[in-house]
Symmetry: C2
Subunit: 337 residues, 2 copies
């Protein structure tokens, strides 16, 4: 066990895309667990669009990361020292451990996980982690999905979007994914079974959506916001549900981006637009986890992780890949030692 804990802290609040100046790299001694606590050696760090919001000051669904604080991150690793009765050395766990080599924890919000050759640790940050929970509750509960409906998802080759589309297919829906670039579009149709893909970088999304969902859209699951949300609003059907999961196209804007100018389509179509935060469903994570694990084992659900090997010092660069749309599936930083 190394004696150094490399950490990435928030040095300043970013304006626009977070460049290297917003990160402070610190090195501390590896903590010793206090009574009722344990220490995790982190092996995998989850990169999530929501991180950009956590870096901003102000009221949101979680407090902001403070200046000087270790950057908040979901992560997984192995318990290497423990003074906690429920966690033993050797346990593999996931939790909000932050961007660092080692984290001390009191066990709150920590899950024990059981990676195998078929279901590696990174999958517990993807389909079997918050990503999967977000897709599951966002689609089934907030989206109130019914069999046979038409579902459109943006960010469709991203971590959440790729799961949303697969879950909708499992429920017998017609699924259209919107993604950037031919490789992503091929992946969601050829490998994940989406009925259609729209390449927003190459196609007229409005025309393509009309062609791909000629009878309109029952559930639009939005990860991107911006113009694509506005186009989707023109295509919703009566009683549609627009699920607001994220708006990655806006997160790095330096001025307040415009809102969805077609929102009155909600009136014309007696539709609703609803936001959610996955943490609210914590009491049902076990239910969703069992369902997802079952579908994974049956080969009916695929988890793809875009794993980048590096150190915590690479975190800032890897995060930018997310905002540039360079990842396919779940972006994970695997810490090499």
């Amino acid at each position: 066990m190394s004696s150094e804990n490399h950490q990435v802290r928030l040095a300043e609040r970013p304006v626009g895309l977070p460049g290297p100046e917003v990160w402070q790299h610190t090195t501390e001694a590896v903590p010793e667990p206090g009574e009722g606590r344990f220490v995790v050696r982190i092996s995998h760090i989850s990169l999530d669009p929501a991180m950009r919001g956590w870096m901003n000051a102000g009221r949101s669904y979680v407090p902001p990361v403070e200046i000087g604080e270790v950057m908040r991150a979901l992560a997984a690793g192995e318990v290497v020292a423990s003074a906690h009765q429920d966690f033993a050395v050797g346990d593999v766990v996931s939790g909000t451990f932050g961007v660092q080599d080692y984290a001390e924890s009191d066990g709150r919000g920590v899950q024990k996980i059981t990676p195998t050759a078929d279901v590696p640790i990174e999958t517990y940050l993807a389909v079997l982690g918050m990503t999967g929970m977000t897709a599951y509750f966002g689609l089934f509960d907030v989206g109130a999905l019914r069999e046979g409906e038409t579902v459109v998802v943006s960010g469709a080759a991203g971590a959440v979007g790729s799961v949303v589309g697969q879950l909708a297919k499992l429920k017998g829906c017609r699924v259209v994914g919107i993604a950037g670039g031919p490789e992503k579009c091929a992946w969601i149709t050829d490998e994940l079974g989406f009925d259609a893909a729209i390449d927003y970088r190459a196609e007229d999304v409005k025309k393509a959506l009309r062609a791909a969902a000629p009878d309109g859209v029952d559930v639009y699951f939005d990860n991107v916001g911006g113009e694509i949300l506005d186009i989707a609003l023109t295509r919703i059907r009566r009683g549609a549900r627009v699920v607001i999961c994220g708006s990655i196209s806006n997160y790095n804007a330096t001025e307040v981006p415009p809102g969805p100018k077609n929102y009155m389509s909600l009136l014309v179509n007696r539709a609703r637009m609803e936001g959610f935060v996955v943490f609210d469903f914590v009491d049902r994570y076990a239910e969703a986890g069992r369902a997802m694990a079952g579908w994974l084992a049956e080969g009916r659900l695929h988890s793809r992780e875009d794993v980048v090997d590096g150190s915590v010092d690479d975190f800032g660069d890897v995060l930018l890949r997310l905002f540039r749309g360079e990842n396919t599936g779940k972006l994970v930083l695997r810490l090499a030692r």
Copy 2:
């Protein structure tokens, strides 16, 4: 019975505020009722913000009024000739009779009404008509109002808004109304019992809303759209419902107005924004009508009609009063003969 039927037809589709050029005034013979039909002499015409939408081309919740067609309008009057077994001469009725002196009808969508000295015919176009139904179902069903919540309504001195606020008070809610000008604000607080009024013409709405609803807003009932919707979104509470009933501030815009840029507040607050069309609740009009009539009779609900005396030729001018915010309560054109 006069032998002339003066009518107002849509001559062209308006751009911006509908000026006199969009109306065509025609005179026809008073119709004779065909078999299974009857003729109504119209005495009262309802003026509604939704009319502006009906004048636009394109898909909406009802077909547009076609060029050359009599302008669509809810109205009330007396049956003066009948070949319909369910409607007799002398019956007083309300229905979508259009902007004209006389209408022929087959009875579909027509209600018989029973005006009295206390509840005059215009009230059947207001609290006891579509206006009241819109407030009732929008607030109770779409807004899913619960006792003790904080309700904010825009267009609060308008036909629907003034009823929404009163209904919320009946359910023990704290009610804040947003209206234009000191007279309207005084009316909703002093006479209708709203807890607070914000004069959007004179006050900083954001500050005033923070002061009037310091703990946030559970239901925001929106009749106006635009900047006020955006401000309300910054003040919603967790689990809030934003009811989209209209957006009168946008109806006469000549360019597509901006959308609500603060819509991500729906995510942060796990809230929903939902539109509706009152016609979907037709099966429950009787239920709502009984409730509203009961509250009216008990003096717990007040209907205020802003009655303008004139002829159908005045319709265009009276409609502009609505879009200039000059009415208080329900704007009705009463036809003098």
